[in-house]
Amino acid sequence: MSSPPPDLSELYQQVILDHNRNPRNFKRIESAKCKAEGNNPLCGDRIQLYVQLDDDTISDVGFQMPQGSGCAISKASASLMTEAVKGKRIGDAEEMFEAFRTMLAGGANAPGKLAAFSGVRAFPSRIKCANLAWHALHAALQGSAAPVTTESARDF
């Protein structure tokens, strides 16, 4: 309560606004073996994630959000996630998820552009938005058939 008020420009960094406006890998991959759906029931955010594997390497990844169902944080996070994990091995992607989550929980910054989300830490109500795509990725890689929701996730 007494900490200095967080600044909006730390939350909505340019890279986040850019990826919100022009999301990368915003596509359906029909042939993808691994798919997952993520829901944030509190705000109605929904994501469909498609992961193409070549052995244990993520050869392609895409996501879709039904019209208007992604806020800037969830959409930019999904977009930056796809960039970060494309071409990576499954284990490396899971490590990135852990690093991302650790950052949002108040730990060290995640590597590369993912650090843009460090500002979300100061906005606890938005942490689930940032994590949504990563939970979906985790579910897709685990081959989980059930849609993941941010409500079953241990984000706090």
Binding site: L8, C43, P66, Q67, C71, R126
Partner: protein, 408 residues
């Protein structure tokens, strides 16, 4: 308009600063803030009168019972109930509707019957009926809404052709602010032979409600949206219906006699109040009603409608803003979207300026699908809001547009 300069100091929380700025609380459709009179009534109850109700033979217990029953009288007067026995205390609108579904519904709805709700109903007036219909093999019929956010009366008429057992609808939509023609809908439903359930969560805080004039069968309200504590609420019903209904929760207080293998039931409303009730909530609700009655519900309604009119007007002047809901017959609820800015981002940005609004589906997902949006931002007003609050809202919305590069 109400004299907000005199009302605001009655609400201690409104003195709070948010990010160094005055708190502008515009999420009243979610819950209202509480005046000192209500907070003091709860403290006073626990300080001087606390005991279990309807049980003790000692003076203190009688005082607690009197305080609890005085609140029932207040609720009965506030909505002009048929009788104070027709006021059942519940945790709120959700429990009131679930009570009707579980008790009246289970007894009267059978396989092949129809239950009617509307596409603008809150989940709490949809899901209990879904559960009932699935259990009974009955059909749930959802009445469509018009493009400008009203109940489609033609479709309502078609739905009644199935001779539904029960028709449920909101007096005021929490998502659109629409004030529905409740008396007319009830009359139509009755002529089709249906029992009517009115979700009064958004009407009770904001309108002069007269359930006898409406002639509904059941009316549900929540205290927390009308200055009272969370966990306070009531089901108001025609006493003859309650008499004929089986109990909802078994337990203490709701029985007359308990044999080894069966029981007989207490008189209404106690038959539906098993277990120790939330006496502090009832006492707080009584104090909230006293506060509202002092202002006068007609003045409350006029104040909020004027604020909504100004807010709709001011927001509509911003390029890219879409306001939802009807142009007239609107309570103090203003849902809107702004360009392609997601309502959640809007709410975060507004919060920085101390402006609290709701963003999301407002527990009305069927309605959101029909509006073709995943979510809206919603500003909702109450007795302590004024034009300064609208100024703060509009200024913060414009700021969001600049941050996200929505053309001015």
């Amino acid at each position: 308009m109400l004299d907000t300069a005199r009302i605001r100091p009655d609400f201690p929380l409104l003195a709070r600063q948010e990010n160094g700025q005055r708190l502008v609380y515009l999420d009243n459709a979610a819950t209202s803030q509480k005046p000192r009179k209500v907070i003091e009534a709860i403290v006073h109850y626990y300080t001087f009168h606390n005991a279990n109700v309807h049980r003790g033979a000692y003076a203190l217990a009688v005082e607690a019972t009197d305080a609890y029953e005085a609140a029932r009288t207040a609720v009965a007067r506030f909505v002009n109930a048929w009788a104070r026995e027709g006021v059942v205390f519940t945790r709120g609108t959700t429990e009131s509707i679930n009570l009707v579904a579980a008790s009246w519904g289970r007894t009267n709805v059978r396989r092949g019957d129809t239950v009617v709700v509307t596409a603008m109903d809150h989940h709490s007036n949809i899901v209990p009926w879904q559960i009932l219909c699935q259990e009974k093999g009955a059909t749930l019929r959802m009445v469509e809404i018009t493009g400008d956010g009203r109940i489609d009366l033609a479709d309502f008429g078609r739905a009644l052709e199935a001779k539904p057992k029960l028709v449920a609808f909101p007096y005021v939509s929490n998502s659109l602010g629409t004030v529905n023609p409740a008396a007319q809908l009830i009359k139509l439903a009755h002529s089709a032979g249906a029992v009517t359930v009115v979700d009064g969560a958004q009407s009770s805080p904001h309108l002069q409600v007269d359930v006898q004039e409406l002639d509904c069968d059941f009316y549900a309200l929540s205290g927390h949206k009308m200055l009272a504590p969370m966990g306070s609420g009531a089901l108001i019903a025609k006493p003859a219906l309650l008499e004929a209904m089986p109990p909802y929760h078994g337990g203490g207080e709701m029985i007359e006699r308990v044999w080894d293998d069966r029981s007989s039931w207490n008189k209404i409303p106690h038959k539906f109040e098993g277990g120790t009730p939330n006496v502090e909530a009832a006492v707080g609700l009584g104090a909230a009603i006293a506060y509202l009655e002092q202002l006068g519900m007609e003045r409350v309604a006029a104040h909020e409608q004027e604020l909504a009119r100004i807010a709709v007007d001011r927001l509509s002047q911003i390029d890219g803003v879409t306001v939802y809901g009807p142009p007239d017959h609107r309570a103090g609820v203003v849902p809107f979207t702004y360009g392609d800015i997601h309502p959640h981002d809007l709410a975060t940005i507004l919060d920085k300026d101390g402006v609290c609004i709701r963003a999301g589906h407002h527990c009305t997902q069927p309605l959101m699908r029909r509006l073709g949006v995943a979510a809206t931002a919603r500003a909702s007003f109450y007795i302590y809001n004024d034009v300064d609050d609208i100024d703060a809202l509009v200024t913060a919305v414009r700021k969001a547009g600049e941050l996200f590069g929505v053309p001015a």
